[in-house]
Symmetry: C2
Subunit: 413 residues, 2 copies
């Protein structure tokens, strides 16, 4: 059985015993010449009747960690980052990931978005959040900064996309983002990919949710039609109970609830939570799970979060005592938060007073400038690309949907 | 004149003086309602007869650094990374860059390549080269590594693509790469983008050069057909002498010379070089320039470089006293090295002895593994994406072809 990596299916080579070679083992690379003929077997269309077989690269099967006809667990192959792509499951995953990448680019291009390479290195420590990676020229003295200022790996391209939203109607980016999170969670990586979009002249969260939904449905249906066998492998052997298929139906619409409604649902839940649900507190994983279950194990948009829970750039809803911002999170079964977005505060006085209270006016002078020179209502969102793959394929651990996973205590190769 | 960023052309709005507003200034964002009618003017097809005009976001023209009807030099707008995308030249550049990005993805997808997100953070200090960025969790003690081992920003995805070339016939990546180079050169950035491809079952440099040429021609002709006006702006005002057009012709073929021939050409040159040309020494910028001129100001492939000049992974040509490896560089007018590639050493004994001599056997055990388990002849190349844009547009400084340039002493936003 020879395989060139283009699909799960192998080509059967039929050979006379005289062609057998000692080094013709599992895992070896071969060059075969012969006739491609219709196969008499039910399971395959064609087979190759070999005339010559040359072993191009033999394989030492005793030390090769992948074994013939064995279904290796994902945890097992994860130990061999340089070889696991030759495993059927990882091969299928990488083909799917490649198609999903192409489909993401096409979706935005077909909808008139300008692609922007937002920077990886930034002097902006975005929201003063912790969990940043700092960078320095190797072997440099600690006190001299290569860039004159401290520099970090990006946690999001949003603020840089907002710059571009001042010049183009729709922009997007699709690149690596980073968190120095000391976590061994099955949903977190230190290096992961985000798809982010920003839309100008947008005054309603509905517009943002519509793009999230269209993106999700378009990419998913492309993947399903381009790699049906590869997806089937996951749904059959990795996540038999996977129910993603229904969200690709044309008439399917996603559920929308407000944060306040979500808290009410949680308060009335018959179960006890480790974290008591309370208006003004973050939704925990256990809460997200319950909400998704409550809505029928379908994707759920939660909108309008408390003002004090969210970053400075989110747009004030000015809605009285339960004071909220125009934020939206998309929660999906099995994975939790898949997308996060918001309308951005485009009004200079609102943004000025908020940054002033946070002591960030100087650092964000350039961001205030965007509101001084032809500001427009705008908003956008980000989607975690690995979480998207986890969700549509039903893969439990995020480390299995990226070619080379990086997380605390591990950076192999 | 209103512009939505979709092209260089603006839409003229014709308004009654009664609609004039005090804050209707250059750079402001407006919402106009009215009738789209055929224009009586020769220069435009349509115009908008305004019924209402609303200033959505005014612009403080006194402090706005972009001025109406002024052609700002690229150096001037570079000072304002948050506003320069609203300048015509940068707007055109960003549209071209977006189209070239999409065309690159399409080229590889249409040719059966699997896209791989090679890692940004790596524990591999590739070739022991200097000029690496090292990363650490912010505020962490110097002695504790987040990943347990020292970690760096990638300088190339090649070795990781070689892993994947053991599972798929053709793979590619297109992402950011980094050099902590203390240079203010017009051709170097600390963060730049590389398009890299790796091909299995390839035994000749010719195959690699063919892909480089096809990629170059396909992406360039797509860009020329998708953004003719934007490209024209560059060829007209930024680089009037730009001669890229001829390389997109179908019958055009690129020049190929060997490194040894190149040295002979340089030795016979009527001019004196700062660095005397000598077999075994690197080609300097002045040499590259001369070679390109000598060949008629066209792109030139230089192949088969001295063994001792090149990294350990390049394939030994075993060609006697003037001992070379199967390497190729593509030199282009005005820019110098645009692409670099090679056949990779797939033979275990050759690679083992070379790594041993370099004392790198332990660090590259995984790379040797790839040659132990079904090794195949393979090769690939990388193309600097910013240099590509510089070349086709005739842009002198690399800082003007990337949205947010990062270089020594500068990391704005």
């Amino acid at each position: 059985h020879i395989n060139d990596g283009s699909s799960l299916e192998s080509l059967q080579v039929v050979a006379d015993p005289s062609l057998e070679k000692r080094d013709l083992t599992f895992g070896s690379a071969v060059e075969v010449q012969g006739k491609l003929v219709k196969s008499p077997h039910r399971m395959q269309n064609m087979e190759l009747q070999a005339e010559t077989i040359r072993v191009v690269g033999p394989c030492d099967i005793w030390s090769f960690p992948l074994k013939m006809k064995e279904r290796h667990p994902l945890e097992y192959v994860r130990q061999f980052p340089h070889l696991r792509c030759r495993n059927n499951t990882l091969g299928a995953l990488l083909r799917i990931r490649s198609e999903a990448t192409a489909a993401t680019h096409s979706f935005f291009q077909n909808n008139g978005y300008v692609h922007i390479h937002t920077p990886i290195i930034t002097s902006n420590d975005c929201e003063g959040a912790g969990e940043l990676f700092q960078i320095a020229a190797k072997d440099s003295a600690e006190e001299t900064h290569f860039f004159n200022v401290p520099a970090f790996l990006t946690v999001s391209g949003q603020l840089h996309l907002e710059v571009m939203a001042g010049a183009f109607t729709h922009v997007f980016t699709f690149g690596p983002t980073f968190r120095a999170e000391n976590s061994q969670s099955r949903r977190h990586l230190a290096e992961f990919y985000m798809v982010e979009a920003e839309l100008s002249f947008t005054e309603s969260l509905q517009d943002i949710m519509q793009v999230m939904e269209d993106l999700f449905k378009t990419v998913t249906s492309t993947v399903l039609s381009k790699c049906p066998r590869d997806v089937e492998l996951f749904h059959k052997y990795i996540a038999p109970a996977q129910k993603v298929m229904h969200v690709t139906g044309k008439n399917y619409s996603l559920v929308v609830i407000s944060y306040s409604e979500a808290v009410e649902i949680l308060k009335q839940a018959p179960q006890t939570f480790t974290f008591k649900p309370e208006w003004g507190c973050d939704l925990q994983t256990e809460h997200e799970k319950y909400l998704v279950k409550h809505c029928g194990e379908v994707p759920v948009f939660v909108i309008n979060y408390p003002y004090d829970l969210k970053p400075f750039y989110m747009r004030d809803n000015e809605d009285g005592p339960q004071h909220t911002v125009a934020a939206v999170d998309l929660l999906v079964p099995g994975v939790g938060e898949l997308c996060g977005g918001s309308l951005r505060e485009e009004r200079l006085p609102f943004l000025e007073s908020r940054l002033q209270r946070l002591g960030l006016t100087d650092a964000y002078q350039w961001y205030l400038d965007l509101r001084k020179f032809g500001s427009v209502p705008h908003g956008g969102f980000g989607m975690g690309f690995e979480r998207y793959l986890q969700y549509i394929l039903g893969v439990d651990n995020i480390k299995d949907v990226i070619p080379f996973p990086r997380f605390s205590h591990s950076c192999l190769l």
